[in-house]
Subunit: 390 residues, 2 copies
């Protein structure tokens, strides 16, 4: 049979818990290996039978994350429920809480990952540096903000955006018109920065927290293409400031599980917060091969309130490069080639069909020299993508 | 539903292959994470719905590995078939080959892992050092061999033994009587040795091979309890001899996938071969956390004839300690304690019910000092087992 009924979670012996993840994308998929090693049972509520995580998890019922009944039925089998994405509606979260489900992170925290205006307000209250921003509903307000901070400005849909979607660089109020037609818009000054950084950490319900080293992220067209861990030549004082900000945000907002804070490094000494995510994050994929405890294992430990693992890097430098979909659906021969060319490259694929620009996997490579590692990681990713052929 | 029909393998897009493993124990289970990361589909023929691997693999039909029809039906969905254990009978292997299944290792190689007399004969032909041995069928032959090599002698059932089962230390012909009643017996001299070593390597069908560093293994009552990688203070010349012997055995016997060769280190300069296994092996569990490429990923790459990954250790020393079942079924609280006590310990559990002496998991810990690492690994394993409580 090609579409079997999905089983209930098959609990392992000895009282080990079942972790349910709402959403069946690659972040849920990459929890599967660590869950198996930890002796945990993983269940995934996927949007399709062949979703990335559903391919590799035994218990993966298909259901709509916006449908209260589907989500409640799923959660009834889980000891804790966590998330592959930020898109579960508030009413569904409220129904889960009312039904007694243990949600990690809790809706009160998750709202800051779902609503960029709420995030900007709260991070500002904490005194943590942010770009100048304003929530607006009219073109006149856009014009006013642009006159105040200078054009262009960044216009964002407060909810639902990712990988550059829902974000516009507005050079005039007209550029924000389409976003405004859909509802309130978050305006931010366009920050001039040296580079982008991210700090990733995990926090457990009992308040234990562990941060990985601050990383440098490289974006192209709004999509992360490369991460260098730790960020090369980062001033230790700035690293400490950024890590402290991440830990404060996690504590003050009540985050549980993995938190990613993306930042702009203004001048090597100052930063502003760009975005938050309360789940494993692309900026932490390096940790799967480059740290004692990878982000997917750590997320599982955190949401279960298990003691956290060491975030210590296991190599001086690890570079991650995302593999984006190219023009060719068949990538197996390129993947073979990459393995043959560089036996130290760790290839991670998500079981997703190729579409141009879609994240279909990533590679990690560890060593000493960030420049050389970056070249190797990029070569491997670009070769699998098909944009180079030697 | 608690006992769903098992689905056919859900192939990932882009022509990625399906690897089938006959047997659903922990070795198959530990392939699940690497298979997901490599974008491969894993299928497991398990002996029970709740077998170790069946808990974490989406496609895990229940079937008897000695039943031709079950095995053929399973293999029909797989691009390559490999093994969690040595116990698939020759007639089943022959039927698979006749049906066109791709078996890795092939039956012609696997026979040397299934039949210890065949192994002793072939390794001897290669001029690789072995204990003195003889295949016998009578008590008189046992007496003759004991008189020749000195008592006690080691008597082994040629087939089906593991973890010390099927092995007797015979101080007289009478001690081998029970084994003789079941068929021919392999007698070996009782070797006086300094310590036990193992060399683990992988070989692909096209002949590429990659060996991990030689490790020291510690056995108690015939069960491996600890592995130190690399073997401390191993003479480089002996390491090279042992590695060369492993690579020769793999090549000459046509082994594909992971090969483990267990050896006795006689005097720091000489060795004899003890046992072979043609699959991931307990002596390689350290590599999951201590090498660029772990043995489960490497086995998958090898059986698919993908280029092999680097076996380079990612830390100076990694120590593995097996977690054996103790008196208590509930181990979750001890596992929490171990995580809290030592955030660098990597805990791996197999989803198996606790029975005294049964291997239910292992821990790895990496660092610089083998003595300190051994103490930490042993403490964690013993604590989870319940033989210490602080």
């Amino acid at each position: 049979m090609d579409r079997p009924a999905s089983p209930r979670p098959l609990r392992s012996p000895g009282g080990f818990p079942v972790v349910g993840i709402i959403g069946g994308g690659q972040l849920a998929r990459m929890c599967a290996g660590p869950a198996a090693e930890l002796g945990l049972t993983l269940a995934v509520l996927a949007d399709a039978h062949d979703a990335s995580a559903a391919q590799v998890v035994r218990c993966a019922p298909v259901g709509d994350h916006t449908d209260v009944e589907s989500v409640l039925s799923f959660a009834a089998d889980c000891d804790v429920v966590t998330f592959d994405h930020e898109h579960v509606p508030a009413d569904v979260l409220a129904a889960l809480e009312a039904a007694g489900a243990i949600l990690q992170p809790a809706p009160a925290a998750l709202t800051y990952a779902q609503d960029k205006v709420a995030m900007r307000t709260r991070v500002g209250e904490l005194g943590i540096p942010s770009p100048r921003w304003r929530a607006v509903t009219s073109a006149a307000q856009v014009a006013d903000f642009g006159a105040q901070v200078g054009w262009p400005v960044i216009a964002k849909a407060p909810r639902g955006g990712y990988d550059g979607k829902g974000v516009v660089v507005a050079r005039s109020p007209e550029d924000a018109a389409a976003l405004l037609a859909a509802g309130p818009v978050l305006l931010e000054e366009k920050v001039v920065f040296q580079r982008e950084l991210a700090v990733l950490l995990a926090r457990s319900p009992s308040g234990q927290a562990a941060a990985w080293p601050v990383v440098e992220t490289v974006q192209e067209d709004g999509i992360c293409t490369e991460v260098i861990a730790p960020a090369p030549d980062l001033d230790p004082h700035l690293a400490a400031l950024v890590t402290h900000a991440g830990l404060r945000i996690a504590g003050e907002l009540g985050v549980t599980g993995v938190l990613a804070v993306e930042l702009f490094d203004i001048d090597g000494e100052h930063f502003v917060v760009n975005e938050l995510a309360m789940r494993p994050h692309n900026s932490g994929h390096w940790s799967m091969d480059g740290a004692v405890t990878g982000q997917f294992e750590q997320h599982l430990r955190a949401v279960l309130d298990l003691p956290l693992g060491s975030p210590r890097p296991s190599a001086p430098v690890t570079v991650m490069a995302n593999i984006l979909g190219g023009e060719h659906e068949e990538v197996y021969s390129a993947y073979r080639h990459v393995m043959a060319r560089d036996p130290e490259v760790k290839v991670h694929l998500y079981g997703k069909g190729v579409r141009p620009g879609r994240k279909i996997g990533h590679v990690n490579v560890s060593g000493d020299d960030p420049v050389a590692l970056s070249a190797r990681a990029r070569h491997a990713a670009d070769f699998i993508r098909g944009v180079i052929d030697e």
